[in-house]
Each structure stands twice: as structure tokens, then as C-alpha cells.
Amino acid sequence: MKTFLTFLALTFSSLAIAGFEGIITTEVLNNGTRISTTWFIGKDRLKLHMQYKVNEDTISVDFILSKGSDVMTIVTDSKGYKGYSFLEKSTISSELNFENLAFKNHENKDSNETKYQGSNNKYHCAIWILDLDIDLFDYAPFFKADPAFHLIANHRLKGFPKNSLLTNHNGELIYSSTVTNILHQKLPETDFEIPNGFKKRELVELEYQK
């Protein structure tokens, strides 16, 4: 484990110079459900890919963002809904009350990550930000259920959250996110485009039973 982290640190320090472009894989535990996520980080684009099961249907979802845009494109591939739709930034909210999480940073001088800790009347939170040349600030309003993005937005941080932990005051884990792999590579534009065969759809489509 120590070897892996040392490898990450060396890799990140070398990448920080040119600006990061590549793929970061994380594992998220959200209210007891485990999800593998992949972040495609381009120059001015971002794509979050998730894959999970709903009942017997495997669902693959891409959330695609461009810097400066107020709209997120959601590309869904499932039996019941195959297509893409748009989501306004303003329509996203969070049931998690991060607003008054007061973070303090405890920088670890021996590594290229910084730990932030915060708490409010509901949660305790700890986030480790890797010192990468990634600016997620513009994207943060689209990720309101991840405390790391709240931290990034509030402290105008650069970097990527290597680990995030959110517990309630009883010590129960609400949310965690852990980076499992970082791949530095130039990403083709097609990674951020809507794949062929996907049609525009409404956010909600109803079919009334007869």
C-alpha cells in the first residue's frame, strides 16, 4: 500500500507541471451501496461514468460537463431508458447539509496531499485532496452530494479528492469515495461526445397503463 501511494505521489508530482488529463477511477460507498465510478478529465471537459444495477437492469450513465456551461448532459444506457437528456445546474440540490461544514486543513508536508477536516451539527467529514493540476471548481455545482466538491468550491481548491469520508455523529458512514487508479493520458474528444445511437429524451417520460 505504501509503495502504491509513493507511486501515486511521484506520478502526480510529475503531472502537476503540465496540467492533468486522464482517467481517475474511484470507488464510492453511498448509504451502503458500492458504486464504481470513472472520471474522464479533459482540458475543459469532464465526464463522470457510473455503472450499477437497478433490479436486473445494468445501467451505464455518463454525466458530461463542459467548463462554463450550466447544463449537464446525461447519457443513459439501460433497457428502459436509452438516450441523452439535459439537466440544468440550478435544478440540482442536495439533501445532505454541507452548508456549514467548517473545514480546517492539516497539511501533510511529507506527501502531496492535504487533509481537510470539518464538522457541523450533523456530520463529521475528512477529505484528502491530491495535489494534481486539476481545477474542478467550475464543475463543483453539479456534484452537490459529494462533500469534496463542496470543499473545492468553498476553498477554491485545485486537485482531486483522493479520499472522502462523511459520517454522522453516531459514527455511521454516510458517504465515502476512494481513488483506486489514476491513468494519465490524452483523451480523445469522442470520450466527451454523445455516442451514436442515442437520441434526445425528456427527463421524465410517462406511459400510462391501459
Binding site: 456534484f143 452530494a145 391501459k210
Partner: protein, 474 residues
């Protein structure tokens, strides 16, 4: 010559005597009479003439006597007018009253009234006004009126008697009195009011069929029947399709009188049940009729006659949502209609229940019944779908039952939804509104369904007052 002279002397003596005090066929004329006639075989014959000839006498002397051949009476001139011997003054009125019939009967089946003609024949020298009056002790709901209560000279008036089915039967004399100047004439008319069947309802009863319950004569035998409903008595129905009070199979020429001091309340329509997602619910049941007529009816209603309220419509929604991030999920949701007053049952989920359902409530009964409310679903429903959680907040309300005489209402279906997505947060899902018309509530029943028959005592219309609730008509 001597003989002639003697005769002349006798005549002169006679003339002198006659001019003093003359008797014919009597030698001793009454000393108070200037002319005294005596006969057992002949009469006194005054001048005989017609009224026209009489009136041609220029400046008749006071006391001038004639025999008027026009009206065969001795008349004398009193210095002002020609008087009959029995006349008191020049303007004394002479008249007769004649009725075209002296008696009549009101059967209160085919008719509640009768009329007869009063003729005034006046023989006065100059026409005068005769005032007519009807003197009687008729029962309280019976009236007697004249088409005109004065006749000038000779003429006629019509008396009209209108009775009520609720008045006591019997024979009632009506005196027709004419007064002209100081003379009075009276004739009597005898009114007979026939009796009716009498029915009293003094205990609570349901689905009341007047003819059947009382074994009254049916079709082919018109009758009149008076029904008294005692104070506090409730006449109800057990099903909206059955009236609370029904005249039944009486002959349609019959006449029913209802004196209601109780409560005639129809059954309200049931709230609609669930199951019909294709039409977004079911129509509420119609309320029942309180009173249904099959023949002419007169009503006095200090009590209450309340038509049944319509049942509320149910609402139902069975739909498949297609949503990004999730795929599809189905939602079956609905609510029953409330029952109409009185006693309409709240709608239940029905034979094919929807997974999420709220029953309508039942209506109560009685004078101050409360209609049932439609079922209400407004608590958010959380549906976990893998790592994503959908929250559906329904605003689903079944139609309310109608109060007495009021239609049930339609329901309401609206749904808002949101999805909680890991990392992203909560996004609101813009659920399209349902724009098709939802099923309607049941129609209120009649307060009084005339059913094509005549109703006396209450006007047509739609009422919401202390005594009548619902429509009177049809």
C-alpha cells in the same frame, strides 16, 4: 114646467151635498172622506196606463194615483217620483239573487275547486249597485272568491271555491248576500268536500312505497290520499336507486297530499372505487331521489326533504416512468371518492387494487349529515432503485361526496418526483401533468322528482335551504 123646476132644485141640492161629502151606494159617507164608495160587487178603478203614458203626465199632482199596466201595480206620485204602494222612498232598491246551482261537490281527486254563477236581477226604477258577499265557515285552507263583488243594475258574478286536500271533509253552507241600498237578499249554496284516504307515518321507515305499504287502490281507481309524517320521523332509503318516498302504483289521476313534519332523506351515492387506471379513476355514483311522484301531489313541508348527494369520483394512476440514471419504474396510485349524504360509502380500492391507495370516507346521515371526503395521498413515497433513490410526492385526492342535493366532485392527480443520485445530488424530475378530464362525481338526486306530474305547494328549482335540498322538477 113645475116638474122641471123641481128636478133642477134636487140636482142642485145633490151637487151641493156631493161637493161636501159624497157617498156612492151609501147615504152616510164617512165624515173624513170626501168620496165614500160602497160595494160588494165592484171595485174602484183608477186610471190605467203604461209607465210611458204615466211619465207623460205633465206636472202630476202630489198624490195622483194610477194603475201602472207595465208592472201591474198601483202607483202614486209623491211629489218627487211615482211610488209603489210598498215603496219606502224614491231610491229604494228592488232586486233578486239567483244561483245557477244550489250545491256542488269537490272530490279532491280530479279537482280541488268549483264555480257557480250568481245572477242579480234588479227591478228598481233606476239601476243601482248591488254589493255581493260570501258568508261562510269554510275550513282553513279553503277559499271562496267572487269574480266581481258588485253588480250595477242587473248582472252576474262567479263564485269560485278552492279547497285543499288537507282540509276536513263535510258539507259547508255558503250564504250569498246581496245588499242594494237598504235591501238585502240572501241565497245559500251547499258545498260538499269529499273525504280522502288518510295515512299516518309515525315510525322510521325505509324505501317507503305509499300504495303498496298501505294497500291503497291502484291503477284504474283514482283516489285522494293524505299522508301525515310525524315530527322527527325519518324516511330514508337503503340504495340510491330506490327513492326514500315513492307514491307507488297509484292511478295516475289520483291526488296525494303530503304533510311532512319529518325528514325524508335520500341515500347518497357511493364514492367511486379504484381499479380504472385507463380512465384515471371511476365516476361517482349518483345520489338517490328523496321523493318520487307518480301522480298529482300537494305538499306542505315544514319538515325536510333532502335529495341524496352524489358520490365523489375516484382517481387512479398506473404509469411507467422512464427516467435517466434509473431506467424505468412503475407507479400505481389512487384514492377513492367520498360518499354522498346520506350514508354514501367511501370508495375502496376495488377488485384490482393499486399498490398505493387511500379510501374515501363514508357520509353520515340525519338532519346534519356530513358527506364523505375523497381519499388523500400526499406523503412522499421513497423508492430505492439501486444506488439511486426516487421520491414521489403525490397530490392525489379522490373526489368529495356531495352534501344533500349537491353533486360529488372530481378528484385530483398530480405527482412530483425527484431522484437522489450519488455524487450528483437531488434532481427534480418534471413529471408532465395529466391533462385529460378526470372522471366526474355523481349527480345529486332530486329533492322531489316530479316525474312529469303536477306538484302543488313547492316551485321548481334547485334549493339549498333548511327544508329542501336538491332539485325539484322533472
Amino acid at each position: 114646467m113645475l116638474r122641471s123646476t123641481l128636478l133642477l132644485v134636487l140636482i142642485l141640492i145633490s151637487i151641493i151635498n156631493w161637493s161636501q161629502n159624497v157617498g156612492i151606494n151609501t147615504n152616510t159617507p164617512d165624515s173624513s172622506a170626501i168620496l165614500h164608495l160602497e160595494s160588494n160587487e165592484m171595485g174602484f178603478l183608477p186610471p190605467r196606463m203604461t209607465s210611458l203614458e204615466r211619465d207623460a203626465i205633465s206636472v202630476p199632482a202630489d198624490g195622483l194615483v194610477i194603475f201602472n199596466t207595465t208592472d201591474s201595480t198601483i202607483q202614486y206620485f209623491n211629489g218627487e217620483c211615482w211610488m209603489h204602494s210598498y215603496q219606502k222612498s224614491c231610491d229604494e232598491c228592488f232586486f233578486d239573487i239567483l244561483l245557477d246551482t244550489a250545491n256542488g261537490t269537490i272530490d279532491r281527486i280530479l279537482t280541488d275547486s268549483l264555480s257557480f254563477s250568481i245572477t242579480v236581477n234588479q227591478t228598481s226604477l233606476t239601476p243601482q249597485t248591488t254589493s255581493l258577499f260570501l258568508l261562510h265557515s269554510l275550513p282553513p285552507l279553503t277559499s271562496a272568491n267572487l269574480s266581481q263583488d258588485t253588480v250595477f243594475g242587473s248582472g252576474s258574478s262567479t263564485a269560485t271555491i278552492v279547497t285543499s286536500i288537507f282540509d276536513d271533509p263535510g258539507v259547508y253552507p255558503i250564504a250569498i248576500q246581496g245588499i242594494c241600498n237598504s235591501n238585502i237578499q240572501v241565497e245559500v249554496f251547499y258545498l260538499t268536500i269529499d273525504s280522502c284516504y288518510e295515512v299516518s307515518i309515525s315510525a322510521a321507515v325505509s324505501n317507503y312505497d305509499l300504495q303498496a305499504i298501505n294497500s291503497l287502490p291502484g291503477i284504474g281507481t283514482p283516489i285522494c290520499v293524505v299522508v301525515d309524517i310525524d315530527p322527527g320521523i325519518v324516511i330514508s332509503s337503503t340504495d340510491p336507486t330506490i327513492p326514500a318516498f315513492y307514491s307507488g302504483s297509484l292511478d295516475n289521476l289520483s291526488h296525494v297530499g303530503i304533510r311532512n313534519l319529518g325528514l325524508i332523506e335520500a341515500e347518497g351515492g357511493d364514492g367511486a372505487t379504484g381499479g380504472a387506471v385507463a380512465t384515471f379513476g371511476n365516476v361517482g355514483e349518483d345520489g338517490g331521489d328523496a321523493l318520487v311522484l307518480t301522480t298529482k301531489t300537494t305538499i306542505i313541508n315544514p319538515g325536510q326533504v333532502f335529495g341524496g348527494g352524489g358520490g365523489g369520483a375516484s382517481v387512479g394512476l398506473g404509469t411507467t416512468f422512464s427516467v435517466p440514471v434509473i431506467g424505468t419504474f412503475t407507479l400505481g396510485i389512487g384514492a377513492g371518492g367520498g360518499g354522498g349524504s346520506a350514508d354514501g360509502a367511501g370508495g375502496t380500492s376495488g377488485a384490482i387494487p393499486l399498490p398505493i391507495w387511500a379510501d374515501g370516507t363514508d357520509a353520515s346521515n340525519g338532519l346534519i349529515a356530513t358527506p364523505g371526503d375523497g381519499g388523500v395521498l400526499n406523503v412522499p413515497i421513497s423508492i430505492p432503485l439501486g444506488p439511486v433513490s426516487i421520491t414521489v410526492t403525490p397530490n392525489v385526492i379522490g373526489g368529495d361526496g356531495g352534501d344533500y342535493g349537491i353533486d360529488g366532485t372530481s378528484g385530483l392527480i398530480a405527482v412530483t418526483a425527484s431522484a437522489s443520485i450519488p455524487i450528483i445530488g437531488t434532481i427534480s424530475l418534471p413529471v408532465p401533468p395529466i391533462t385529460v378530464p378526470l372522471p366526474s362525481g355523481g349527480t345529486a338526486g332530486y329533492c322531489i322528482n316530479k316525474n312529469g306530474n303536477v306538484l302543488i305547494g313547492l316551485p321548481d328549482g334547485n334549493f339549498q335551504n333548511l327544508n329542501e335540498k336538491g332539485e325539484i322538477g322533472n
